[in-house]
Symmetry: C3
Subunit: 155 residues, 3 copies
Amino acid sequence: MTPEERLRHLGIELPEMMIPAGSYLPARVTGDLIFVSGQGPWHAGGLVKGKVGRDLTGEQAREAARLTGLNLLAVLRRELGSLDRVGAIVKVLGMVNCAPGFNDTPAVINGCSDLLVEVFGEAGKHARSAVGMAELPFDIAVEIELVAEVVRPGP
Amino acid sequence: MTPEERLRHLGIELPEMMIPAGSYLPARVTGDLIFVSGQGPWHAGGLVKGKVGRDLTGEQAREAARLTGLNLLAVLRRELGSLDRVGAIVKVLGMVNCAPGFNDTPAVINGCSDLLVEVFGEAGKHARSAVGMAELPFDIAVEIELVAEVVRPGP
Amino acid sequence: MTPEERLRHLGIELPEMMIPAGSYLPARVTGDLIFVSGQGPWHAGGLVKGKVGRDLTGEQAREAARLTGLNLLAVLRRELGSLDRVGAIVKVLGMVNCAPGFNDTPAVINGCSDLLVEVFGEAGKHARSAVGMAELPFDIAVEIELVAEVVRPGP
């Protein structure tokens, strides 16, 4: 199955790509790489906000990271035309809006990493850091950026 | 207009490149990419320091981000010989020294992003994350690193 | 001397590579680059934990950063077969688990940067940011990720 087929098989529908909240692009392609801007847990109803460990549990934050992953996929599809043009996920930087003392950031970011592996299989496995931030834009609970490999269109 | 011409047209003079405060290089070229080390809001008179939302307003921090952008340009020019060898700005990581509760980090980092677009035009538009840090070196208000595409010298 | 010879000459023995604490890979190669996941100050006895400036001194944190560097080398050797296949260290992101008010993050991360130069010489010099985080996984004192250039095996 291709990533797009797997997505349908999993019954996942991607959200609309969010318009950047600043003077920047959702993503930039250079050579065989695409750098995707930090995405957050936004959905039709708004943003998932708050400090993890105080306003949200770790499990709720993990769900927010999965939602953030869906937004990363939405950017990749929009920029490349199809998720089938993603050759591999290379690197993820997962940033958690931590209340003081909350440090199980890897479990939170697994919500996104697991999604990437569900959709891309082996090619979805990536290098990663998962760390705790003092603040994130608009108090979102999680922000995640990534670098992926792009498959060039055939001849 | 080339980036160097645009810079002159805007009447912008770049600061001297700051010597790294540690065991590292201002930038490293690899293939067609240049990775620029995190720069801060330094100028002839010193460093812009403090927590944004407490010691500095968001608007002052945005100015500090613009100043940081000038320092990024200074590194790019010094490493590449000319800004005209920058093919595109690929990715910016903007880090704001946030007082608790200050989270309008995108508006702060726009100070740098807007400068990059003024100087490079469409090629200056980039992927980005703009996030809030617990601490930055020497308490500087903003730190920004970037990845850019390098144009190889013609034959 | 090659990096492997230099390591022996320095009498440095690398630790076992740590198994990732989440759904991700220790590193991912793409083109001529390898992206290494954030590593921490782990050793046979456990993790170096705590807030720098409160639970650890800057000097202790610098040692933790050197230990983290050894773990980065362990990943590079395991992924590439030998450190001699590292062409250059391109970019380091050093993240320090800061107590409020501790901001001499460059001196801490020098513990890793100096090690990289000891082992790789000129090729070990890199672009870098060294910043202060609100929280790191499991309260480790330091986390560092890097991007390096890979030398392709000869024909």
